[in-house]
Symmetry: C2
């Protein structure tokens, strides 16, 4: 895309309302604009990142055997009365009355609806187990929305739901999702750690939050160095297999025997037993939560499937959430500097920016056009009639993994400068070398 024609409204000033780095940078780099309190429009650059994250989440869900569907945003209050949550949910639920005076709501989550769809569709153990997910906008009417997309009211979430015939099956589904999550975050260039979370009245130990490390994170975290050493691989790469219960067990042990806790759950006595060289501390941001809740909804909603002996069985469920829009902010918290965003390669809106330092110079223009033609939509071409300093600053702000800098002297000699945003490293190379390195 040519920057001169693009809808990327950057801001020079730091917006006063933004308290945290990601919020400031998302506004300054023209990724989003607030349209009402806690509600954002995703502008072209931000939307590209959101879609990249969504794609990785989707691919890893599919690899784990989850099936994608899409439930609507507006739900009937009836289902929530059936589960008993309609009155409990409080003011965070956006309640709506339609023109026929029916009670509706903007879904904050989908346990009831997925349980209802399952109830209508699945009759027999032969169709089990099932993991179903969707990536859909949700609404929670936060009393004080803040921190940009990190705590918005309308937000994009991937929520998956598993249905199993028994507890052992539910544990396998839970482990599959945990593995899918670790692979998802690893692909995004994030270091994530699963931490035990509250299970409430369900009990047991099957509730984990996923915290990604970020220097500006909201909570203090303590963890064993083991988490820095695991490569979660991919489903095609011969690492842990989703089809092998032994693999899943081994993976789950690895995730749960090594120490990891947020300050809320931190246990000084246990921490003291860990070898000093294995202790790690940092700040973190919650970006996902997985939770086993057994027959909480299937019982309340009277759902059964026929077991092998023909007797009705009430399926065991779990739910698995990732904050997709929240992740855009979280990635920026984890990866930025004073000059701007530093996108991990896998989710960057563009692989590279091409900076034309002297528009109107025949050699510069020709070389830039040539490079731009080769990259196509993978590059943002800064063809604006602006000073070099403005272009450098904007490229750093927007955070492209690579900058290809084309100046008149270099262009005349058939050379460009290639800059890696993350390290600041610059090398003079031929255009062909630049293309090859950016990939």
């Amino acid at each position: 895309m040519r920057l001169s024609r693009s809808f990327i409204p950057t801001m020079k000033e730091t917006p006063a309302e933004a308290q945290i780095a990601s919020h400031r940078l998302m506004l300054r780099a023209g990724l989003v604009r607030q349209t009402s309190a806690g509600i954002y429009a995703w502008l072209p650059l931000g939307y590209r990142v959101l879609r990249n994250i969504e794609r990785i989440v989707r691919e890893e869900q599919n690899a784990a055997g989850a099936q994608e569907l899409l439930m609507p945003t507006i739900q009937s209050a009836e289902l929530w009365r059936e589960s008993g949550r309609y009155d409990d949910y409080g003011k965070e639920m956006l309640r709506i009355r339609d023109r026929h005076d029916r009670d509706m709501l903007y879904g904050p989550t989908n346990e009831e609806m997925i349980t209802d769809l399952f109830r209508q569709s699945v009759r027999s153990y032969r169709e089990m187990p099932q993991i179903l997910y969707h990536i859909q906008w949700k609404f929670r009417d936060e009393v004080r929305p803040r921190f940009g997309v990190m705590r918005g009211r309308e937000f994009l979430m991937k929520d998956a739901y598993s249905f199993d015939m028994d507890h052992a099956g539910a544990v396998v589904s839970y482990r599959k999702m945990m593995l899918a999550y670790m692979r998802t975050f690893q692909r995004m260039g994030l270091k994530a750690i699963p931490m035990v979370a509250d299970t409430g009245p369900i009990g047991g130990d099957l509730s984990h939050e996923f915290i990604i490390l970020a220097p500006t994170g909201e909570s203090q975290v303590y963890y064993d160095a083991a988490f820095e050493e695991v490569d979660y691989g991919s489903s095609g790469s011969g690492g842990f297999s989703y089809e092998d219960a032994g693999d899943l067990h081994r993976f789950f042990e690895l995730m749960t025997t090594n120490y990891a806790a947020t300050d809320e759950k931190h246990d000084e006595a246990k921490w003291a037993t860990i070898a000093p060289e294995r202790k790690r501390e940092g700040r973190g941001i919650e970006v996902g939560h997985i939770f086993y809740f057994g027959t909480r909804y299937t019982k309340a909603m009277g759902v059964t499937v026929a077991g092998p002996d023909g007797k009705p069985v009430c399926p065991e469920m779990g739910s698995y959430g990732v904050g997709v829009s929240r992740l855009v902010g979280a990635v920026i918290e984890a990866s930025h500097d004073a000059a701007g965003i530093i996108w991990p390669d896998a989710i960057a809106p563009f692989k590279a920016a091409i900076l034309n330092l002297k528009r109107g110079d025949a050699a510069c223009d020709a070389l830039c056009e040539q490079l731009y033609a080769r990259f196509g939509s993978a590059a943002l071409y800064d063809d604006r009639d602006d000073r070099a300093g403005v272009k450098f600053a904007d490229a750093d702000l927007l955070g492209h993994p690579w900058q290809i800098v084309v100046g008149p002297r270099g262009a005349a000699a058939g050379k460009v400068e290639l800059k890696r945003r993350a390290t600041g490293e610059r090398v003079e190379v031929t255009p062909e070398e630049a293309l090859a390195r950016v990939g």
Copy 2:
């Protein structure tokens, strides 16, 4: 995907509430389920089709130079008061009050919001023109939702908005979108015809509905055979170019000088002047609408950009809508028979079904697994422990473009039967030939 493990709840009975073919078939084939009046959950098979349609719409919008962003579903009433439409819109608008008693609404369309985003971002003629679009769920609180996803309350729409410095520019944007629409529908295997629509107080001739031909369509249409003869090409294929005003003019003439009208606008006198061999009549379904409305919103909302002489100019706008979820129903209306859906190749959920006629037969099982491994996610493998008749019927119902039928005799001889759903043609081929033909 293995059908035995998939969430594709087909129905044998024809649902009583469904009055039209697409509604019946979408329920029977397990594409959607209604969750409240006029609100649907898209099950895995239906969601694949929806996403395929969305992808084609997106690619053609991008090829025309439109930029994608995403506006939220929930809007503030303030903007609609600014344009004067808040009180006019009536009961179809789903009005919401949030916890702080602010008037909000579920967007039925986005003219106000996009105009506001434009107003915040674009200052100068140098950043013009702009065509911005999003693909987002909308809500219209229809008094009597019906016909399944064809007239639902929550529906997915692509809406684009153009901003130009003058009327001539707006005309160019309008023609670009018209061309993008004809390519979009052609890629989906649909025959679409643009028909003049009402412009209301704006006047002029820049308002067209796009009608696709379907034997069960809602309105009678009359058109010149010329529309059957045009190949709209693609932006890469050397057909009409978006960058060439002459091409766009020639294309627009072709679309507007040949006769085309719905029964509402049908002109018997004009129709009588057309050579009988060029007259075509049929039924059609509206799936898109493009509309030039000048400065209707930019004036009301006080939007200007600086022209080349520094003076403020009120930009001219147009809007361009495609009913993405409606198209799923419309395609089925255009392409089905008594046995079920007939998906056009470009939007089919799976290219092919592999039918294992005798599970447990070693040769059948081995050959099916082999084929399935080669197709990956492009094929649905009917591995159910069911009678051949059930598998044939379901494959016809689900409408895969190709069926690869593997029976014990054929498998022993290294042969499969390849059936083309659209024509019913069957040929015996080797597995390699089947793979090559399905592609």
